[in-house]
Amino acid sequence: MSRADAASPRVSVPLTARGANETPKPQPQSFASRAGEPQRTAPLSVIVGTLSSLQSALVPAAAAAFGTGIAGPGILIGLLVGVVIAGLGTVFSYIRWKRLTYTIGVQDIRVESGVLSRSARSVPYERIQDVSLEQKLLPRLLGLVAVKFETGAGGADDLSLTYLSETEGERLRELVRERRDDAESNARADAEASEPERSAEVEASENLFSMGPSRLFTYGVFEFSLAVFAVAAGLLQYLDSFFDIEVWDVDFWRDLAEEQGGWIFDLSAYGQALGAFAGLFLVVLIGSATGMFRTFSREWGFRLERTPRGFRRRRGLFTRTDVVMPVHRVQGLTIATRFIRYRFGWHSLRFVSLAQDAGSSSHVVAPFAKLTELDPIVAAAGFQRPNDNAEWHRATIAYRNVSILWDVSFFLLGALIAGIATAVYAPEWMGLAVAIPLALGAANAVVGFLSWRFKRHALDANQIVAVAGFLAPAMQVATRVKLHSVEIAQGPFARVFGYATLHLGMAGGEFAIPGIPAERAQEVRARILDTIAETDFSQLESQRLVQAA
């Protein structure tokens, strides 16, 4: 059916005179001349489709080969299955390529796609938040790039073109930026006489933060991960359908232990300890290697620059990404850390914005840095970390006590259920079953008690700052003028004890300050609203001119 569909295009697919001239290398001026008429993505995309379907054909092919007996005709059947899957993948990706066109219009980008049902999507230039380029390993080897247009619609709704040639991608990005700026400057041409951006364009980009191999190594040490064992367990479970191993069968492991245990028992106590130590060492080694590999592959060549267009971040060893985020799109920032790295002064910095970054809503602009290294980035985004004379306010004591009691009540309930269950079925375990939830509840209460001191917020000239966390404090900063609504929420306990939670409407992120006195919540809200009321939303866009100056 797909072949028939491709042969007779019922829908008006603009198969213009370009019929056969799928020129892989576009001429420098061809881009401008072709603007306004539908174009296809790079023909090499089909090969990426073939290669990735080969990749996904591997496992079924292996399954077919092993399933039918690897020694006999199995190998042939396996090969056949692999070839069929790869062939189908190629055909489908060819049809998809054939049926997808994009048009660079005067005011928007239009993408028409679909094999059986056609869909046409149009995105106006001024709605495009930023254009990011991504190169996974395969496309990178072929010199291709995926172009993503972030509109703030989020994740799957965003428009992307896979794949264009590198030059074409770069040029498209430049073109979108120019058109967007034209649209924006036309819109406020009468309001804004001067255009400081135009003169700023010639300025060279300034390096804000980059990570060399030695920094990556330190980062990798802290990224210790045992995820590889989970993957191995998953693989093992997958394999048990091919081999005669029942992963979840206790007898298998007992037999193995008895079989192997014989010679272990023969060893001296010293030898056994040595073996245990070696095993532990191996786990640590593998965990470190995993963390190191993941860190290096994700963050290799990390570079954050301040360009006239905004912040530009490039990173990646196998999958290379190149993201540009305009300064005025930054809604707020988060400085976070983790338990151990905090002891050594390492922090991460994220920008909150409507654009998406690898599935998360905020952009990591410095994943592993000292606070002094973060300050220039924070300043470049128009923010500042609260200084020493900031006026901090805490949550109420009543909030602390209520939340501790509330948490503990769950552990008590757990202890009660565990106690009753063990009393009925296994009385000898009752003590332990009750003690564990109680101990966890007590630990929870202690952490809740201690962390209260570290949960605080402050207002400064134009920001609101909230800090929380005792073992790994995290800081959230938002510009008050960029907030969209303020809500004071009170549950039944909060009303009795006179505290409230303040929810701030931030574009692209959550910002809540729990447990502050009700009067303080009213005061903070009044001050935020006074700041907001002075600037209309439509003026927020032109704020960036002030920030850039």
Binding site: R480, L483, H484, R495, H503, G505, I532, T535, D536
Partner: protein
């Protein structure tokens, strides 16, 4: 003009919540709140009744099934399950709408709308007109029969991306929409 408004906002010496004109237009307590249209209670009552019907029917079916199952497992006399479900349903139908209505309210300020709701979990939201992305006036079938409507304000924030205000007379809702729309326009000029 932007820089001027920013320098005002970044005035570092204003310590306390100076009661400005814009705050006084929206009172902080529940005093200055406008109540919703009483027809909102009727609308709630109808929708709660519609929700309760399947539960009551389910209770009858379950009771009948258990009774016919014989003297095996069901220890309670006939009608207890039905009684509980019907009692709860009546309580929700009679009591809840009035209390909900009592708990809700709104206040139109010079440049902001305040929406208060919730019986046990109180929520008090203020949306500045300058941050509203678009405004909806919706009417479901029940609302339409009663001549009321829901006004929904949409913002760009993740929290409170849409703030609904139900139980307004349809004319008032459209009037408020026009009012807010004009103020947005005036503010941005």
């Amino acid at each position: 003009m932007d820089s001027a408004s920013i320098s005002v906002s970044s005035d570092p010496v204003s310590p306390a919540p100076a009661v400005s004109a814009s705050i006084s237009t929206v009172a902080q307590g529940d005093a200055g709140l406008t109540k919703l249209d009483p027809a909102y209670k009727t609308a709630l009552r109808i929708s709660v009744t519609l929700t309760a019907i399947p539960f009551v029917v389910g209770a009858f079916v379950a009771e009948a099934a258990l009774a016919s199952a014989g003297e095996g497992g069901w220890p309670l006399p006939f009608g207890v399950l039905i009684g509980i479900v019907v009692f709860l349903a009546l309580a929700f139908i009679i009591r809840l709408p009035g209390r909900r209505w009592q708990a809700r309210g709104y206040a139109m300020g010079e440049d902001r709308l305040r929406v208060v709701r919730g019986i046990l979990w109180r929520s008090d939201t203020i949306v500045p007109f300058g941050r509203i992305q678009h405004i909806d006036v919706d009417q479901g079938p029940i609302e339409r029969a009663l001549g009321i409507a829901t006004l929904t304000l949409h913002t760009a924030g993740n929290h409170n991306a849409s703030v609904p205000l139900p139980g307004l007379r349809h004319e008032i809702a459209t009037e408020m929409r026009e009012d807010i729309r004009q103020r947005i326009k005036r503010d941005s000029l």
